[in-house]
Symmetry: C2
Subunit: 210 residues, 2 copies
């Protein structure tokens, strides 16, 4: 089973590594970081680079594809090479997935039309522009299309997928070895739980009406 | 404020990216990935490489140092260059931190002697060999030394540190933008919660008596 995790300039690092670290434990899985060209690809804050070990041309039949988001995915939603590759590999995938604003890229490729999907909470309404129906759930399954909410939700998505693919025991085993027993020191991880002024501040930063 | 995140061959990717993704949001923070040499450094499963942008020689006075763990950190606990660099920068840090088995490296550098500390649940007893007192807490503070439990615990550590450094509001803001509202699909993230047979299986894999 081959798992292709997409890199592009401006990705969010935890969007990549959350699903990567969970899915790579699938029995028999080969995980590859793939991009337009081999070599370092820098993240959205510029201070971290991951290496693409394979080009899109070299990865044509992944079983699972994972598309991360980034602070600004506008360029990727207009990247003809990326979108065509996504449409092409999607014809053979068992699961086509995204984390955070990666769903806006999947949507731009035309893969979420008429489907329920999620994304970063700040960008949910943008899913409508690509023909998807926004959901506030943390991990959304619609057929073989699986979308996760913002950034850290990729860990929950990865673990859920391990369970679907390899069974509950395998998923619990991965959770245990990753010691994924989250104990956040605050309870502000969603717009419903966070203080209203913080939600308004992030909406204002994103150029949204508050 | 400079945050140095250490890379070495065989690191665990989420040990690096959990603290990175939280701490890089600290106001005024410069985050650098540092290793013995610049360039790609490969993780413990071999299928992911992060780029070290700076050498140890180039990073001499970080305010925060983060040491990740790896599936097998034996080589790092005997790496004189790494250990000497850790001892040297520790003289000037505000916080010296680790995730997972990174605490065994801090311990090998002599920095945890007589201190309470944690590590991956499978390796807790190894902390005694470096003179530390093992704790089962997820994030352990002992003075400026902060150690996190296995892999995913680095996110909780990072968020806790953001709160200590920049205040509760800043930490809640980071939690919200990372949408860190964990909803694991299983409840098997610690040896106390996981099925006993899985705990025994991991102990056996690690060569421990079960």
């Amino acid at each position: 089973m081959q798992i292709a995790v997409v890199l592009f300039e401006g990705f969010t690092s935890l969007d990549v590594v959350g699903p990567y670290e969970t899915l790579q434990h699938l029995p028999g899985a080969e995980t590859v970081l793939v991009s337009a060209a081999r070599g370092p690809v820098r993240n959205d804050s510029g201070s971290l680079a991951l290496v693409a070990d394979r080009t899109f041309e070299e990865v044509t039949t992944p079983d699972i594809v994972v598309v991360p988001g980034g602070a600004e995915v506008g360029p990727q939603t207009e990247d003809a090479v990326l979108l065509e590759w996504l449409r092409s590999v999607d014809r053979g995938t068992t699961w086509t997935t995204s984390v955070c604003t990666g769903s806006l890229i999947l949507g731009a490729a035309g893969l979420l039309t008429g489907r329920r999907a999620t994304t970063h909470w700040l960008e949910r309404e943008r899913l409508r522009a690509v023909g998807a129906e926004p959901s506030a759930e943390r991990v959304v399954f619609d057929g073989k299309y699986v979308t996760a909410a913002g950034v850290s939700a990729g860990i929950d998505m990865g673990l859920t997928l391990v369970g679907k693919i390899a069974g509950d025991r395998a998923a619990r085993s991965v959770q245990l070895v990753l010691e994924y027993d989250p104990q956040p020191p605050y309870d502000a991880g969603s717009p419903e739980k966070a203080p209203a002024d913080l939600v308004a501040e992030w909406r204002a930063r994103a150029g949204q009406q508050v």
